[in-house]
Protein backbone atom coordinates (compact mmCIF):
# COMPACT_ATOMS: atom_id res chain seq x y z
CA UNK A 1 0.00 0.00 0.00
CA UNK A 2 2.56 2.53 -1.18
CA UNK A 3 -0.34 4.72 -2.38
CA UNK A 4 -0.35 6.47 1.01
CA UNK A 5 3.33 7.44 0.59
CA UNK A 6 2.62 8.63 -2.95
CA UNK A 7 -0.41 10.56 -1.74
CA UNK A 8 1.67 12.28 0.92
CA UNK A 9 4.14 13.32 -1.78
CA UNK A 10 1.20 14.61 -3.83
CA UNK A 11 -0.13 16.64 -0.89
CA UNK A 12 3.30 18.19 -0.33
CA UNK A 13 3.38 19.33 -3.96
CA UNK A 14 -0.19 20.65 -3.84
CA UNK A 15 0.44 22.57 -0.61
CA UNK A 16 3.66 24.07 -1.97
CA UNK A 17 1.97 25.22 -5.20
CA UNK A 18 -1.06 26.56 -3.33
CA UNK A 19 1.22 28.56 -1.06
CA UNK A 20 3.26 29.89 -4.02
CA UNK A 21 0.04 30.92 -5.76
CA UNK A 22 -1.34 32.41 -2.52
CA UNK A 23 -4.44 30.28 -2.84
CA UNK A 24 -7.14 30.18 -0.22
CA UNK A 25 -8.53 26.89 -1.26
CA UNK A 26 -7.76 24.03 -3.62
CA UNK A 27 -10.87 22.82 -5.43
CA UNK A 28 -9.73 20.07 -7.75
CA UNK A 29 -6.56 18.06 -8.26
CA UNK A 30 -6.16 16.41 -11.67
CA UNK A 31 -3.89 13.38 -12.03
CA UNK A 32 -2.91 11.14 -14.92
CA UNK A 33 -2.29 7.54 -13.83
CA UNK A 34 -1.32 4.68 -16.12
CA UNK A 35 -1.73 1.01 -15.11
CA UNK A 36 2.03 0.47 -15.43
CA UNK A 37 2.85 3.21 -12.90
CA UNK A 38 2.27 0.73 -10.10
CA UNK A 39 -0.35 3.01 -8.55
CA UNK A 40 -3.90 1.83 -8.05
CA UNK A 41 -6.17 4.90 -8.55
CA UNK A 42 -8.85 3.55 -6.21
CA UNK A 43 -6.33 3.12 -3.37
CA UNK A 44 -4.81 6.51 -4.12
CA UNK A 45 -8.26 8.05 -3.79
CA UNK A 46 -8.83 6.36 -0.43
CA UNK A 47 -5.46 7.61 0.78
CA UNK A 48 -6.30 11.09 -0.51
CA UNK A 49 -9.39 11.37 1.71
CA UNK A 50 -7.14 10.74 4.70
CA UNK A 51 -4.24 12.90 3.56
CA UNK A 52 -6.33 15.96 2.60
CA UNK A 53 -7.78 16.43 6.12
CA UNK A 54 -6.75 19.71 7.69
CA UNK A 55 -4.89 20.87 4.57
CA UNK A 56 -5.64 23.64 2.09
CA UNK A 57 -7.16 20.87 -0.04
CA UNK A 58 -9.45 19.65 2.76
CA UNK A 59 -12.51 19.85 0.50
CA UNK A 60 -10.76 19.20 -2.79
CA UNK A 61 -11.85 16.64 -5.30
CA UNK A 62 -9.37 14.23 -6.84
CA UNK A 63 -9.92 13.61 -10.56
CA UNK A 64 -7.90 10.78 -12.04
CA UNK A 65 -7.51 10.29 -15.77
CA UNK A 66 -6.73 6.64 -16.50
CA UNK A 67 -4.15 6.49 -19.23
CA UNK A 68 -4.26 3.84 -21.97
CA UNK A 69 -1.43 1.36 -22.45
CA UNK A 70 0.09 2.00 -25.88
CA UNK A 71 3.29 0.76 -27.48
CA UNK A 72 5.23 1.81 -30.52
CA UNK A 73 6.85 -1.09 -32.38
CA UNK A 74 10.59 -0.91 -33.01
CA UNK A 75 10.21 -3.31 -35.94
CA UNK A 76 7.15 -2.21 -37.95
CA UNK A 77 6.94 1.30 -36.50
CA UNK A 78 3.19 1.13 -35.80
CA UNK A 79 1.35 2.26 -32.70
CA UNK A 80 -0.99 -0.17 -30.94
CA UNK A 81 -2.99 -0.64 -27.75
CA UNK A 82 -1.62 -3.27 -25.38
CA UNK A 83 -2.33 -5.01 -22.08
CA UNK A 84 -0.18 -4.18 -19.03
CA UNK A 85 1.02 -7.79 -18.93
CA UNK A 86 1.54 -8.09 -22.69
CA UNK A 87 3.30 -5.19 -24.36
CA UNK A 88 3.81 -6.82 -27.76
CA UNK A 89 3.00 -5.07 -31.04
CA UNK A 90 -0.68 -5.46 -31.99
CA UNK A 91 0.23 -5.40 -35.69
CA UNK A 92 3.29 -7.59 -36.25
CA UNK A 93 3.41 -9.32 -32.83
CA UNK A 94 7.05 -8.41 -32.14
CA UNK A 95 8.04 -7.92 -28.48
CA UNK A 96 10.59 -5.21 -29.18
CA UNK A 97 8.32 -2.24 -28.49
CA UNK A 98 8.59 1.04 -26.65
CA UNK A 99 5.92 2.14 -24.20
CA UNK A 100 4.48 5.49 -25.28
CA UNK A 101 1.66 5.67 -22.74
CA UNK A 102 0.65 3.74 -19.64
CA UNK A 103 3.27 4.39 -16.94
CA UNK A 104 2.21 7.97 -16.08
CA UNK A 105 2.02 9.05 -12.47
CA UNK A 106 1.63 12.77 -12.96
CA UNK A 107 0.03 15.76 -11.31
CA UNK A 108 -1.45 17.57 -14.32
CA UNK A 109 -3.06 20.67 -12.86
CA UNK A 110 -4.92 21.99 -9.88
CA UNK A 111 -7.87 24.35 -9.68
CA UNK A 112 -7.85 26.85 -6.89
CA UNK A 113 -9.49 29.93 -5.47
CA UNK A 114 -7.48 32.88 -4.28
CA UNK A 115 -8.52 36.19 -2.88
CA UNK A 116 -6.48 38.18 -5.41
CA UNK A 117 -7.99 36.40 -8.37
CA UNK A 118 -9.95 39.49 -9.48
CA UNK A 119 -6.72 41.50 -9.40
CA UNK A 120 -8.44 44.45 -7.76
CA UNK A 121 -8.07 45.92 -4.32
CA UNK A 122 -11.86 45.84 -4.01
CA UNK A 123 -11.90 42.08 -4.27
CA UNK A 124 -9.32 41.83 -1.49
CA UNK A 125 -11.29 44.23 0.66
CA UNK A 126 -14.50 42.33 0.18
CA UNK A 127 -12.74 39.22 1.44
CA UNK A 128 -11.15 40.85 4.43
CA UNK A 129 -14.27 41.70 6.48
CA UNK A 130 -15.66 38.25 5.97
CA UNK A 131 -12.49 36.83 7.43
CA UNK A 132 -12.54 39.14 10.39
CA UNK A 133 -16.11 38.31 11.21
CA UNK A 134 -15.26 34.63 10.96
CA UNK A 135 -12.50 35.06 13.50
CA UNK A 136 -14.49 37.12 16.00
Amino acid sequence: MHELAICQALMEQVERIASEEQADQVLTIHLAIGPLSGVEPRLLEQAFYVARAGSIAANAELVTESMPVQVSCNQCGQLSDALPSRLVCGHCGDWRTRLVSGDEMNLLHIELVRQTSEDTAGAQDSFAPARRSYNS
Binding site: E21, L108, E111
Partner: protein
Protein backbone atom coordinates in the same frame (compact mmCIF):
# COMPACT_ATOMS: atom_id res chain seq x y z
CA UNK B 1 11.22 12.34 -14.89
CA UNK B 2 11.93 15.95 -15.58
CA UNK B 3 10.17 19.14 -14.49
CA UNK B 4 11.55 21.54 -16.99
CA UNK B 5 11.82 20.17 -20.51
CA UNK B 6 8.31 18.79 -20.87
CA UNK B 7 9.42 15.17 -21.24
CA UNK B 8 6.53 14.23 -18.95
CA UNK B 9 4.24 15.08 -21.85
CA UNK B 10 3.76 11.79 -23.65
CA UNK B 11 1.62 11.22 -26.73
CA UNK B 12 -0.80 9.59 -24.30
CA UNK B 13 -1.27 12.56 -22.01
CA UNK B 14 -0.56 15.56 -24.25
CA UNK B 15 -4.26 16.20 -24.79
CA UNK B 16 -4.74 16.59 -21.04
CA UNK B 17 -2.39 19.48 -20.71
CA UNK B 18 -4.37 22.65 -20.87
CA UNK B 19 -3.59 25.24 -23.49
CA UNK B 20 -3.20 28.87 -22.58
CA UNK B 21 0.00 28.88 -20.56
CA UNK B 22 0.64 28.20 -16.94
CA UNK B 23 -2.34 30.17 -15.72
CA UNK B 24 -5.72 29.74 -17.33
CA UNK B 25 -9.34 29.95 -16.24
CA UNK B 26 -11.65 27.00 -16.07
CA UNK B 27 -15.21 27.14 -17.34
CA UNK B 28 -16.52 28.09 -13.90
CA UNK B 29 -14.02 30.93 -13.55
CA UNK B 30 -11.64 29.25 -11.07
CA UNK B 31 -7.94 29.41 -11.66
CA UNK B 32 -6.24 26.35 -13.04
CA UNK B 33 -2.54 25.92 -12.46
CA UNK B 34 -0.79 23.59 -14.88
CA UNK B 35 1.77 21.50 -13.08
CA UNK B 36 2.65 18.30 -14.92
CA UNK B 37 5.07 17.01 -12.32
CA UNK B 38 5.63 13.38 -11.49
CA UNK B 39 3.97 12.57 -8.16
CA UNK B 40 7.31 11.30 -6.91
CA UNK B 41 9.39 14.32 -7.95
CA UNK B 42 10.79 14.81 -4.45
CA UNK B 43 11.85 11.16 -4.30
CA UNK B 44 13.31 11.33 -7.82
CA UNK B 45 15.28 14.43 -6.91
CA UNK B 46 16.87 12.70 -3.92
CA UNK B 47 17.46 9.58 -6.05
CA UNK B 48 19.38 11.68 -8.58
CA UNK B 49 21.41 13.12 -5.72
CA UNK B 50 22.20 9.61 -4.44
CA UNK B 51 23.23 8.52 -7.95
CA UNK B 52 25.53 11.53 -8.30
CA UNK B 53 27.08 10.57 -4.98
CA UNK B 54 27.68 6.99 -6.19
CA UNK B 55 29.09 8.23 -9.52
CA UNK B 56 31.46 10.66 -7.84
CA UNK B 57 33.04 7.77 -5.97
CA UNK B 58 32.80 5.27 -8.84
CA UNK B 59 30.63 3.01 -6.67
CA UNK B 60 28.23 0.65 -8.42
CA UNK B 61 24.78 0.70 -6.75
CA UNK B 62 22.59 -2.38 -7.21
CA UNK B 63 18.96 -2.50 -6.08
CA UNK B 64 17.81 -6.07 -5.36
CA UNK B 65 14.07 -6.68 -5.43
CA UNK B 66 11.92 -9.81 -5.09
CA UNK B 67 9.13 -11.40 -3.08
CA UNK B 68 9.94 -12.18 0.55
CA UNK B 69 11.98 -15.37 0.72
CA UNK B 70 13.19 -15.45 -2.90
CA UNK B 71 16.80 -15.59 -1.70
CA UNK B 72 18.13 -12.02 -1.83
CA UNK B 73 20.18 -12.32 1.35
CA UNK B 74 21.50 -15.77 0.41
CA UNK B 75 22.55 -14.41 -2.98
CA UNK B 76 24.36 -11.52 -1.27
CA UNK B 77 26.14 -13.89 1.13
CA UNK B 78 27.37 -16.02 -1.79
CA UNK B 79 28.32 -12.92 -3.80
CA UNK B 80 30.29 -11.43 -0.91
CA UNK B 81 32.17 -14.71 -0.42
CA UNK B 82 33.00 -14.83 -4.15
CA UNK B 83 34.24 -11.24 -4.39
CA UNK B 84 35.50 -10.16 -0.97
CA UNK B 85 39.16 -10.69 -1.79
CA UNK B 86 39.08 -8.37 -4.79
CA UNK B 87 36.32 -5.82 -4.05
CA UNK B 88 35.07 -3.70 -1.16
CA UNK B 89 31.31 -4.03 -0.73
CA UNK B 90 28.58 -2.81 1.61
CA UNK B 91 24.91 -3.66 1.94
CA UNK B 92 21.92 -1.49 2.79
CA UNK B 93 19.21 -3.77 4.15
CA UNK B 94 15.54 -2.88 4.03
CA UNK B 95 13.12 -4.81 6.21
CA UNK B 96 9.92 -3.99 8.05
CA UNK B 97 11.43 -5.26 11.29
CA UNK B 98 14.58 -6.91 12.74
CA UNK B 99 18.32 -6.66 12.08
CA UNK B 100 18.48 -10.35 11.10
CA UNK B 101 19.57 -9.83 7.50
CA UNK B 102 22.16 -7.17 8.40
CA UNK B 103 23.53 -9.61 10.96
CA UNK B 104 23.88 -12.32 8.31
CA UNK B 105 25.78 -9.93 6.00
CA UNK B 106 28.06 -8.64 8.77
CA UNK B 107 29.01 -12.25 9.59
CA UNK B 108 30.66 -12.30 6.14
CA UNK B 109 32.86 -9.34 7.07
CA UNK B 110 31.02 -6.65 5.12
CA UNK B 111 29.40 -3.50 6.57
CA UNK B 112 25.60 -3.59 6.56
CA UNK B 113 23.25 -0.72 7.37
CA UNK B 114 19.82 -1.91 8.41
CA UNK B 115 16.84 0.28 7.55
CA UNK B 116 13.75 -0.86 9.42
CA UNK B 117 10.79 0.65 7.62
CA UNK B 118 8.12 -0.18 10.22
CA UNK B 119 4.97 -0.49 8.18
CA UNK B 120 6.41 0.91 4.93
CA UNK B 121 6.43 -1.73 2.22
CA UNK B 122 9.33 -0.29 0.20
CA UNK B 123 12.54 1.71 0.47
CA UNK B 124 12.58 5.25 -0.87
CA UNK B 125 15.41 7.53 -1.94
CA UNK B 126 15.36 9.48 1.34
CA UNK B 127 15.88 6.33 3.43
CA UNK B 128 18.80 5.30 1.22
CA UNK B 129 20.23 8.81 1.42
CA UNK B 130 20.22 8.63 5.23
CA UNK B 131 21.87 5.21 5.13
CA UNK B 132 24.58 6.47 2.77
CA UNK B 133 25.71 8.91 5.45
CA UNK B 134 26.76 5.90 7.49
CA UNK B 135 28.96 4.47 4.72
CA UNK B 136 32.37 5.63 3.54
CA UNK B 137 31.88 5.44 -0.23
CA UNK B 138 35.52 6.38 -0.76
CA UNK B 139 36.48 2.89 0.38
CA UNK B 140 33.82 0.95 -1.56
CA UNK B 141 33.36 -0.57 -5.03
CA UNK B 142 29.79 -1.88 -4.83
CA UNK B 143 26.80 -1.02 -2.64
CA UNK B 144 23.97 -3.53 -2.71
CA UNK B 145 20.57 -2.26 -1.62
CA UNK B 146 18.38 -5.17 -0.52
CA UNK B 147 14.88 -3.78 -0.87
CA UNK B 148 11.91 -4.84 1.25
CA UNK B 149 10.63 -8.22 0.04
CA UNK B 150 7.65 -7.21 -2.08
CA UNK B 151 6.93 -7.53 -5.81
CA UNK B 152 4.70 -4.45 -5.94
CA UNK B 153 5.65 -1.29 -4.08
CA UNK B 154 9.47 -1.10 -4.45
CA UNK B 155 9.08 -0.91 -8.26
CA UNK B 156 7.69 2.63 -8.08
CA UNK B 157 10.58 4.22 -6.17
CA UNK B 158 13.91 5.20 -7.72
CA UNK B 159 16.62 4.94 -5.06
CA UNK B 160 19.53 6.27 -7.11
CA UNK B 161 20.75 2.78 -8.06
CA UNK B 162 22.54 2.07 -11.34
CA UNK B 163 20.86 -1.26 -11.93
CA UNK B 164 17.73 -3.08 -10.76
CA UNK B 165 17.92 -6.81 -10.22
CA UNK B 166 14.71 -8.78 -9.77
CA UNK B 167 14.90 -12.27 -8.32
CA UNK B 168 12.26 -14.82 -9.24
CA UNK B 169 12.67 -17.98 -7.20
CA UNK B 170 11.66 -21.31 -8.68
CA UNK B 171 8.95 -22.10 -6.05
CA UNK B 172 7.10 -18.89 -6.98
CA UNK B 173 6.08 -20.03 -10.47
CA UNK B 174 7.25 -19.03 -13.94
CA UNK B 175 4.39 -16.61 -14.73
CA UNK B 176 5.39 -13.95 -12.16
CA UNK B 177 6.56 -11.47 -14.85
CA UNK B 178 3.04 -11.43 -16.35
CA UNK B 179 1.44 -11.08 -12.91
CA UNK B 180 3.76 -8.29 -11.71
CA UNK B 181 4.56 -6.35 -14.91
CA UNK B 182 5.51 -3.10 -13.16
CA UNK B 183 8.20 -4.85 -11.13
CA UNK B 184 9.62 -6.96 -13.95
CA UNK B 185 9.65 -4.03 -16.42
CA UNK B 186 12.05 -2.18 -14.11
CA UNK B 187 14.53 -5.09 -14.02
CA UNK B 188 17.86 -4.73 -15.81
CA UNK B 189 18.62 -8.35 -14.95
CA UNK B 190 16.33 -11.17 -13.81
CA UNK B 191 17.78 -13.97 -11.71
CA UNK B 192 15.84 -17.23 -11.53
CA UNK B 193 16.98 -18.13 -8.03
CA UNK B 194 16.88 -21.47 -6.18
CA UNK B 195 17.52 -23.22 -9.51
CA UNK B 196 18.65 -26.28 -7.50
CA UNK B 197 14.90 -26.88 -7.00
CA UNK B 198 14.16 -27.12 -10.73
CA UNK B 199 14.41 -30.94 -10.82
CA UNK B 200 11.79 -31.22 -8.04
CA UNK B 201 9.52 -28.36 -9.09
CA UNK B 202 9.30 -29.37 -12.73
CA UNK B 203 6.25 -27.19 -13.43
CA UNK B 204 8.60 -24.19 -13.42
CA UNK B 205 9.86 -23.76 -16.97
CA UNK B 206 12.65 -21.15 -17.26
CA UNK B 207 11.71 -20.65 -20.92
CA UNK B 208 8.18 -19.62 -19.88
CA UNK B 209 9.63 -17.05 -17.47
CA UNK B 210 11.80 -15.67 -20.31
CA UNK B 211 8.83 -15.51 -22.67
CA UNK B 212 6.64 -13.67 -20.14
CA UNK B 213 9.48 -11.21 -19.58
CA UNK B 214 9.95 -10.59 -23.34
CA UNK B 215 6.20 -9.98 -23.61
CA UNK B 216 6.78 -6.99 -21.31
CA UNK B 217 9.09 -5.63 -24.02
CA UNK B 218 12.07 -6.27 -21.73
CA UNK B 219 15.39 -7.32 -23.17
CA UNK B 220 16.90 -7.89 -19.71
CA UNK B 221 19.12 -10.97 -19.50
CA UNK B 222 17.78 -13.91 -17.46
CA UNK B 223 20.20 -16.13 -15.51
CA UNK B 224 19.35 -19.29 -13.62
CA UNK B 225 21.28 -19.49 -10.40
CA UNK B 226 21.54 -21.26 -7.08
CA UNK B 227 23.26 -19.56 -4.18
CA UNK B 228 23.13 -22.92 -2.39
CA UNK B 229 25.14 -25.10 -4.78
CA UNK B 230 26.80 -22.18 -6.66
CA UNK B 231 25.40 -23.24 -10.05
CA UNK B 232 25.15 -20.19 -12.30
CA UNK B 233 27.02 -17.92 -9.87
CA UNK B 234 29.81 -17.35 -12.44
CA UNK B 235 27.51 -15.66 -14.98
CA UNK B 236 26.12 -13.37 -12.26
CA UNK B 237 29.57 -12.43 -10.95
CA UNK B 238 30.75 -11.82 -14.50
CA UNK B 239 27.75 -9.54 -15.17
CA UNK B 240 28.44 -7.63 -11.94
CA UNK B 241 32.13 -7.10 -12.77
CA UNK B 242 31.25 -5.95 -16.30
CA UNK B 243 28.78 -3.42 -14.86
CA UNK B 244 31.42 -2.16 -12.43
CA UNK B 245 34.00 -1.83 -15.23
CA UNK B 246 31.51 0.07 -17.37
CA UNK B 247 30.65 2.43 -14.51
CA UNK B 248 34.31 3.10 -13.79
CA UNK B 249 34.87 3.80 -17.48
CA UNK B 250 31.84 6.13 -17.63
CA UNK B 251 32.66 8.00 -14.43
CA UNK B 252 36.33 8.22 -15.35
CA UNK B 253 35.31 9.74 -18.66
CA UNK B 254 32.90 12.13 -16.94
CA UNK B 255 35.62 13.29 -14.60
CA UNK B 256 37.97 13.86 -17.55
CA UNK B 257 35.46 16.01 -19.44
CA UNK B 258 35.76 19.78 -18.92
CA UNK B 259 33.00 21.17 -16.70
Amino acid sequence: MCDTCGCNVTPGNAHLVQAGGRLSKTENGHEAIDVLHGLLDANDHTAAHNREHFNKHGVLAINLMSSPGAGKTSLLEATIDALKDELAMAVIEGDLETENDAGRIRAHGVPAIQITTGSACHLDAHMVHDALHQLDLQKLDIVFIENVGNLVCPASFDLGQHRNITLLSVPEGDDKPAKYPVMFRTADLVLLSKSDLLPVLDDFNPENARRYLRELASSAPVFELSAKNADGMDAWIHWLLAELAELEHRCGRLAAEPA
